[in-house]
Amino acid sequence: MMVLGFTGGALGGHLGGWRHRDSFPTTTMHLQCMVEMAQIAERGGLDMMFLADGNGVRQMDKPALFAANSPSDRPAVFEPVTLFAALAQHTSRIGLVATATTTYEEPFSIARKFASLDHLSGGRAGWNLVTTQYVEDAKNFGRDEHMGRVERYVRAQESLDVVRALWDSWATDAFLQDKATGRYLDPTRVRLTNHRGTHFAVKGPLNVARTPQGQPVVFMAGQSEAGKELAAYGGEGLFGTASSKAQAQREYADIKDRMPKYGRPPDALKILPALSVFVGRTRAEADDLYEELQALIAPSLAVSYLSKLVDFDLSEAPLDGPMPASAGESVGGTAIGRSVLEMAAREGLSVRATYERVLPSMGGNMVKGDPVQVADVMEDWYTGKACDGFMLSMPVQPRSLRDFVELVVPELQRRGLRSPRYRGKTLRENMGLSIPADPFLA
């Protein structure tokens, strides 16, 4: 079954989305916007709401972009785990995937808050493991420089191991709560983590009972060599950034081929490329939405956004001249940025042509058309082994999400690509992932 999630920013996925007449009137620190999106998505049976996150305010050195508030910059947003604790009380089936960084957070705190969220949501929590790609975040955590990519990923793997060991602290049946005998818990059904590694020393146990889905689902988003390897090693969901089907197929095969050496079957990891969906009741309605949004972006803002995306200042480059070549893999450079540069080089695009291509989807892949056209593309990728599903980006919220649920989901269900209702109560069940075995019961 095709897995479907959506990125839950209330600003929408398009740089001009929040200005469109069909967007939320205001979004900053509005819980109700988040509740409304989660409930619309749940009505459409989407598997998860996904929240990217960071620990720094971005683009303060790019005043035009800073003032326009691009959707991935998040100058004022809810902390995702506390937000999901609230959303869990307004929903009952949709998965809640929040981002936390292994570079600046301790594994004990990560293990604890996601285990807690899994209980609060009845088994719907997911942790999107990131190593943080934004350099400024380092300066909020006592460091002047961002940690290098290699070190970040070594640390991430160790953190992941520790988090999972902590999640295995207690047996499912450890908390007896037997009022007659006075035995609240069984002391033989807990074990210490006793980890001593390069970056962390953690004794354990975790002070949260084993969670409803055994362990929260671990997502990742890194597309670098180290990121792919870590996803093969321990990821269960992977946010992809491929900008073409062929690229997605290559990456899909590459990552899945790496899994057997870690003793993992390929279907233990769901690869979900980002997909921006411009859907209308007719093709013309979708085209109109697309044009309306493009018209909301001035060229200077577009160039500023593109500069940020490729981590390369394009403000002096002629709009109709060729895109400058890649400056190589930077410490903070992103997979999306590299993907955009590759696309521009491959197709010989100008700066203007590049941003016109990039803006609608913010660098990822996009599809535009009526429900049948959108479903055709999604089916083609899915059956062509380019993905296991999609992480949907909605240009204008809540309109785009509602349109997707009302127009595209029924079409996917007709084709048997999506189930008519949620398959289970936990995120794992809905994603088709197995429940990790309780080591105490093994």
């Binding site: 509005h30 009022k179 609240y184």
Partner: protein, 236 residues
């Protein structure tokens, strides 16, 4: 006005509370229990609910206590105890005295009559078997009592010190701890709160939504002049 805070932990206050029949059947990781407790506290117009916390399992080296109590433990060190050095604090930081609210914790055994309260107290005592009880007392007194017979006397210097510790507590509000949850908190709200309301000691209705407003704390000052707010659309 004497505001109140409650500790909505479903395992209940003192050791053994969770074993009563009217306590949540399985309090561990029970969100509904927390919601229920918080609603009762709100019915009693409490200022807030308070959760102690820590990041390690306590008492794994004391198996009897570890088995009997678990999650509820550890609060002893985390309760709002600042009232003890409050006079000192007030002079040290130079703030007006009413900017810092002290909330001494008080364990309440409430009944419709004194006899009912006594029964509750005795019943709860009977639910504590000697081994965890002695461990717990050892922890509270920071003194190893495990070598003493359970029915023998405590040394007098310890008793005097505890007496003084309790008597030094003074505050303008309380953190309510109830022995069995949720009935203890419910009894307090249903039996005690109306009387306190009649006497004008606690509020009958909330006056503000933000937590700051309940105990009468002023808004945190903004670093931005009012004009700056008018320029933008602002948050909700």
């Amino acid at each position: 006005m004497t505001p109140l805070a409650g500790i909505p932990h479903p395992v209940g206050g003192p050791l053994g509370g969770w074993r009563r029949e009217d306590v949540f059947v399985r309090p561990a990781m029970n969100l509904e229990a927390f919601i229920g407790m918080s609603r009762i506290a709100e019915r009693g117009k409490f200022d807030g609910v308070f959760l102690a916390d820590d990041n390690g399992a306590r008492d794994m080296d004391r198996p009897a206590l570890f088995t009997a109590l678990s999650g509820r433990d550890g609060d002893e060190e985390c309760r709002p105890r600042r009232h003890r050095d409050q006079p000192l604090r007030r002079t040290r930081d130079g703030r007006p005295p009413d900017r810092l609210k002290s909330l001494p914790d008080v364990s309440l055994f409430t009944g419709r009559s004194a006899t009912e309260a006594d029964d509750l107290y005795l019943e709860r005592q009977s639910l504590i078997s000697p081994a965890p009880g002695v461990h717990y007392l050892s922890k509270m007194l920071v003194h190893d009592l495990e070598t003493l017979p359970p029915d023998g006397p405590l040394s007098s210097d310890l008793a005097v010190e505890r007496e003084d510790w309790w008597q030094s507590r003074a505050g303008d509000r309380f953190t309510i701890m109830t022995p069995v949850q949720p009935t203890g908190l419910g009894d307090f709200v249903d039996l005690v709160v109306p009387g306190l309301q009649r006497r004008g000691i606690i509020r009958k209705e909330y006056e503000t939504a933000p937590l700051r407003g309940h105990p009468g704390l002023p808004d945190a000052p903004s670093r931005w002049p009012a004009a700056a707010h008018k320029a933008g659309r602002g948050a909700a």
